[in-house]
Symmetry: C2
């Protein structure tokens, strides 16, 4: 972990009910499983606008030899060209704490809410994202943690490549 | 411009000769021209390692309907899966000041040097990039400024979409 945040759980979300995130983080987990099943890194993401999933994606480093298609990036790409108005009502779900690149993408499009499955196995610049006005919610989801722990143990070199280590 | 930096030129590069950047920024400008010629946004980028261009790219919003392939992202994607050792010796050139997303990508891969054609028409989070240890050089290139000024005047709605406005 490259960032200087040592807190395990960071959240400035005081309003949402964790339960309401259930179907969306499950959809992101489904994407992560799909990625794992196709030989890839098990991280998934969905973009939600007005209660509907408008984009889904998973890490494509292995499957497409991609250095930029992290799960969140693949999700945003699959969501297509959206307007600033669309992004302003969106929530980005990811099974794992977004890295610098994916955090930057959320900031570029002024996505107001990011919901994270877990930040135990990796933690991106959450504090910075909050300072820039994003509402960050950490779900501390056990399945997300287990998927990444298993993967990092099995393929440490691939995982390190994915986070630039 | 969404960031709170008002300075026109930011650089913590005290060592490089501007002239040495010439062939690489010219290659990035060539990519920008190629993007414009194919109906796209005229921003180009190259990645240089040990004096050799290892990746080239330009903005693909129009050409591929892409929300993530800014010039720098397209360049990193085209450079392929590189090792941390490769990135540690790299310099990322872009005709325009990198946005939050592209800055984040440079940070993810710990690219130590970013050379920017111009930051007059748009300025990303340069100060933050510097605070995170990246050496940032602004070339203040007149052709880069002119390309963007012409484009922004001709297609303001497309430009705004590209920067999340």
């Amino acid at each position: 972990m490259r960032n200087d945040q040592t807190d395990d759980v960071v959240s400035n979300d005081q309003t949402d009910d964790v339960v309401s995130h259930g179907p969306f983080i499950e959809a992101a987990i489904g994407e992560a499983r799909k990625g794992l099943a196709s030989g890839g890194i098990p991280i998934g993401s969905v973009l939600v606008i007005d209660g509907e999933i408008v984009g889904r994606g998973h890490n494509k480093r292995v499957q497409q030899g991609s250095s930029v298609l992290h799960a969140e990036m693949d999700c945003l790409e699959n969501a297509g060209r959206l307007s600033a108005s669309d992004y302003s009502r969106s929530t980005l779900y990811s099974t794992l704490s977004p890295c610098d690149m994916c955090t930057g993408a959320a900031l570029l499009y002024k996505i107001p809410r990011v919901v994270v499955g877990e930040n135990k196995t990796f933690q991106g610049p959450q504090r910075y994202m909050q300072e820039r006005g994003v509402e960050v919610t950490i779900l501390d989801n056990a399945e997300c943690v287990a998927m990444m722990e298993d993967f990092i143990q099995a393929r440490p070199e691939l995982w390190n490549e994915d986070i630039g280590e």
